[in-house]
Symmetry: C2
């Protein structure tokens, strides 16, 4: 009963919230953006205007910081602005709208390479084209497939050196007859190229007829599955006698010693801003993370054949990680004590679309230990002191076609932020003629794992590039690499021969800030060289990497040029509001001329500057049969951990009620 009351209070507060300059655009603001822009670009049958990307044009950092530090009770918000990419007359327009003056304050026709994110509307439209396209219908007839059971989808085609590129996608189709798992039943060999601006099919190929993999064994809906069921597992009820420990005021969340702002963006999904931690000794909040989000997810498949070579996705830039957010299911996607938040984005017509339960926020009680010690060395005393751990998780799930990414931000009272990615959903699968590996002769490479009859799970990678604008105790920070180096013992009285010690180097320019992990023992930290502990150590946060992978494509291959931000696991750049996108802003068919790798070539000063840490967590995925027909979650993650940020253990005096 108590919980219900508290939830109502949270809900109430959500409604009555004070506006924050980093709040995502509200439905009424999205409507206003649409009105302002469509008034300036009246559409006709021949010149349609579509909204490809509508986002808050967040105020620049000094404006936010000045708003934050304002002494007044309700300081005026910086101007609310929207940034819009629209397609109009086969051009990409970059439009900035001022919402208070209800005016367009800048418009630019984008002349560079690449195109904006695909909207769901155009993906839906283009996926319908085959059904009125005669050659495709003939192909279906030839295969005796029931058209009403065929589903098509649009796939970005990348860029492979062509001088002139149009806004085209591949359209590939699947047979659903008897299953929801379309990806398991590809019509391999049949492909179309369609123009998104003209919304028509440009070319069609039906290269070979191989059996569509059968439906049996592909289903994953409980209602369609047949016994035997199992394993049977017991669930749990969670009650919080003292209620939830967090409060949500608008998009501002506070819990334990943490407070932060949770935004939502069409392209990247969750944005955590202004994460600060309360220092109980200093009795004030201290800045940790100004702004963090997943800037890009690069997913190159590794099959060089005609039907697959171009499959090298950029899930944020091409498909919109926020647009692709799935509504979370209470009790399964998130535990019983979770609180849910909705999100809004603009569709192709500029209309607000609500994603119900786009986020959940919950206190995680995983049964872990925050810290402990048992002491038996003191005679006649047995001391055991233990604190149970609890953390706060912000979760979203982005489903980009077949793949579901479970994105967790976990805030720990100890000051750590853990970044988790759970990979689940459905593999990218290719049809084939094999039903047993025995049939694969000699040098033949099937570029994947044989998962089922006629079904190959194609090799691929995932590179998750996080934008992490750490502001440790303020804006001016440095990136320090501390290498652990073997030393020889020189004192002849000491019989030991060696030991290691630490050698710290502060990165002066961007070139110094590039790190390939795995080559040497090193600790990487962002520190504030101007703020030291009482002991004289620089206050900092350390990156504890997880799931390190390096690209295996040659560096001058087209996908790798576009995904060149994966060439290093770590990059450090000076803060620049416009540099948010690891792959650039116009990623569909991009040529890699606007990536983080290109920006980093400027080799700017990064010592004692406002810097951004870019960290890429990656994995190579060799599918296994267990990944079929739906993948058990594979979890990877990394951690930002305070290192000499606090004078001592910040949870020494934690109280868990």
């Amino acid at each position: 009963m108590k919980i219900v009351v508290v939830l109502v209070l949270i809900q109430a507060c959500w409604r009555c919230a004070e506006a924050h300059p980093l709040d995502p655009l509200t439905p009424s603001e999205l409507n206003l953006v649409r009105t302002i822009i469509t008034n300036s670009y009246p559409t006709s049958s021949s010149s349609n205007l579509t909204f490809q990307h509508v986002a808050l044009d967040e105020p620049d950092k000094p404006q936010i910081l000045s708003w934050l530090s304002s002494k007044s009770m309700a300081p005026p918000l910086p101007p609310r602005r929207a940034f819009v990419i629209a397609r109009f007359q086969k051009q990409s327009l970059e439009i900035t709208v001022d919402l208070s003056t209800r005016s367009i304050i800048s418009t630019r026709v984008y002349k560079g390479h690449g195109f904006p994110t695909l909207t769901f509307v155009e993906q839906g439209l283009v996926s319908q084209l085959p059904f009125s396209y005669e050659p495709f219908k003939d192909s279906l007839n030839k295969r005796a497939l029931n058209m009403s059971q065929v589903v098509c989808a649009a796939f970005t085609v990348g860029w492979f050196g062509a001088e002139k590129t149009k806004r085209v996608v591949k359209v590939k189709c699947y047979y659903t007859n008897g299953t929801a798992n379309l990806y398991a039943r590809p019509l391999e060999g049949v492909a179309m190229v369609a123009d998104l601006d003209e919304m028509r099919i440009l070319s069609f190929s039906d290269r070979f007829g191989i059996p569509v993999p059968k439906a049996e064994g592909t289903e994953y809906r409980l209602s369609k599955l047949k016994p035997p069921f199992g394993p049977k597992l017991n669930g749990v009820n969670v009650t919080q006698p003292h209620g939830p420990g967090f409060t949500i005021d608008g998009h501002s969340v506070s819990w334990g010693n943490w407070k932060f702002h949770l935004g939502f963006d069409f392209q990247v999904g969750a944005i955590i801003s202004l994460a600060s931690i309360y220092d109980i000794e200093k009795q004030r909040y201290r800045e940790v993370l100004y702004r963090g989000f997943i800037s890009e997810v690069f997913v190159p498949y590794q099959d060089p054949t005609e039907e697959w070579y171009y499959t090298t996705y950029f899930d944020c830039g091409e498909y919109g990680f926020g647009q692709s957010a799935s509504s979370l299911e209470p009790l399964t996607d998130c535990p019983p004590n979770a609180h849910f938040l909705d999100a809004f984005y603009a569709d192709a017509n500029g209309n607000p679309v609500k994603i119900t339960n786009a986020f959940c926020i919950f206190e995680k009680h995983a049964g872990d230990i925050m810290w402990r010690h048992t002491e038996i060395a003191i005679p006649n005393q047995l001391i055991t002191e233990v604190r149970a751990d609890v953390s706060l998780v912000v979760r979203m799930v982005s489903t980009v076609g077949n793949y579901d990414y479970v994105i967790d931000w976990e805030f720990k009272p100890s000051g750590s932020i853990k970044f988790g990615v759970g990979l689940t959903g459905i593999l990218g699968m290719k049809g084939g003629t094999y039903i047993n590996t025995d049939q694969i002769k000699g040098e033949t490479d099937i570029h994947g794992t044989l998962l089922a009859d006629n079904t190959i799970g194609v090799y691929h990678d995932h590179f998750f590039t996080y934008y992490l604008d750490l502001d440790i105790d303020g804006q001016r920070n440095s990136f320090v690499k501390t290498t652990l180096q073997t030393q020889k013992v020189k004192d002849p009285k000491i019989p030991r021969k060696s030991y290691w010690t630490t050698v710290s180097e502060t990165a002066k320019t961007e070139a110094d800030g590039r790190v390939k992990l795995g080559l040497e023992a090193a600790e990487l930290a962002v520190v504030n060289p101007n703020k030291k502990t009482k002991r004289g150590n620089k206050t900092g946060y350390r990156l504890l990497p997880g799931s390190v992978a390096h690209p295996l494509l040659v560096s001058d291959d087209y996908p790798q040029i576009r995904g060149a931000f994966s060439n290093y696991n770590v990059w450090v750049t000076p803060y620049n509001k416009s540099e948010k996108w690891a792959a650039g802003l116009f990623v569909d068919r991009s040529r890699g001329d606007d990536t983080l790798a290109v920006k980093s070539r400027k080799n700017r000063e990064i010592e004692n500057e406002d810097i951004v840490l870019w960290y890429t967590m990656g994995l190579h995925h060799v599918p296994s049969q267990e990944d079929y027909p739906v993948m058990p979650t594979l979890s990877v993650g990394f951690e930002l951990r305070p290192t000499n940020f606090f004078e001592a253990n910040p949870v020494l005096k934690a109280i868990v009620n």
Copy 2:
């Protein structure tokens, strides 16, 4: 109320359990061992006999497997035997006792290098010696320290090339006055060498007098801490409406699709045996892990000075990871739904000692997602299918002096076993003259981090070497390394330049089974080459490594010779019952002549043999101020994950009630 009933049932079953040949020695068996041996070695004032290591001498694998496969209802147990290392007349005796015939069946005087594990009794006795040793009392007087507040402890001294070694330890002392955190208040500069067999101090040095670090800020007991308290966090109540999902019968645990045996050993702590998973399609249990445990924990400190250079611990072999198991505290060490089990070991006199709550077993509901997918591509349908995750955790905490290791075995319904280590407790700290890093001039190396006034947290490593006798679908297995290799595209019609593919190599001999991680993209698996899936893939389990570290000592340095098993992250050896100990069996003062590295030099055949995978997870620890006065848990872990072991996702049809 329901839960209480279920717990009573578990308790009842625990009492009525059938004996299992891998059960650890019971208190009455330990008593019997003591009686049998002391009858053969009557002690006198001049020739004391001590029990250094008493363990089940487990039946050899064929005996266990034959017992398991017996069709009879209650097959006779293989002979119950105990293996004992005793010290008698300054010699180490290896004694095998048959419990059914109540007789010693073999005795061997150990003639090799090294000594057995230190008992708590002798550590306690040797720690008292300084208080009746005049030079030490003089040192205390000189420093005006109150002797009743001084605590001493015994530290193994390693081996640094000496031709003749005695069974000695260093005795170092601490001041507790006003704190339970003795490690934070070392009497730096004062050290004694004591002989464990003669139980007397051999040498004493008082090299320098520096201030004992002050007590302020060192305390970690809640009752002694002063405001401000915080962060204040809300706890959770967990109820299981369907009760716990596991049953415990003696030491046999079954839960969901898993069953396994949980043993306890003086030297290594938890031993998981006979872990099998139920295959719902094949409708039978399938073997995964015959036997697994942490064979050794190597902790070399990195300070080459007189008082610290020898500090290179082997926590299992020198201190007994099982002997050092801490009693777990309900509600903090383990969640509210945990069930606890006791363990027993023999003390120096052979008497059984009970460790209350040595293990806890609980279902972990961390709010994770077992698998999910949202499908929007099918017109007019929105499909979302999600399964919440749950796993079973077996936990123990081993506290070796200052450090607390939280050891988790997590069984997942998907077939994965996750191995977690949480590092918490108290740092190894050194006294010093500095109170600020500004005082450290020029080339001076303090070999650690300045944590507090006069307090340095010394650099060190942890290498956790797991013994994993995987029996994938039976005993004969192979170790396969699958390298991901870049290929150039040869087809001129394809504009892409490169891709990666997999090249698998089966290790033929032990030399092929050694792997240094981090150098190349590779997947490591243990497979059964004789059992294939319907698709023709070899059934296997894959190692997903975590926290990779390589030793930084030179390879011919004495500690590294003794810890040479850390030279590779992975070793594969043929099963041999006697090869359980990565550092050898007599580890204290060992010379590295009995390590895994030496055994692996035989370069035995390992293809299609009964093989053991040895995996070393490591980390270099550069302490930070947050680690003071007690360390927030740092969690590391790795995973064994089925790879083509099942025909398809084994949790596709999981039911979570």
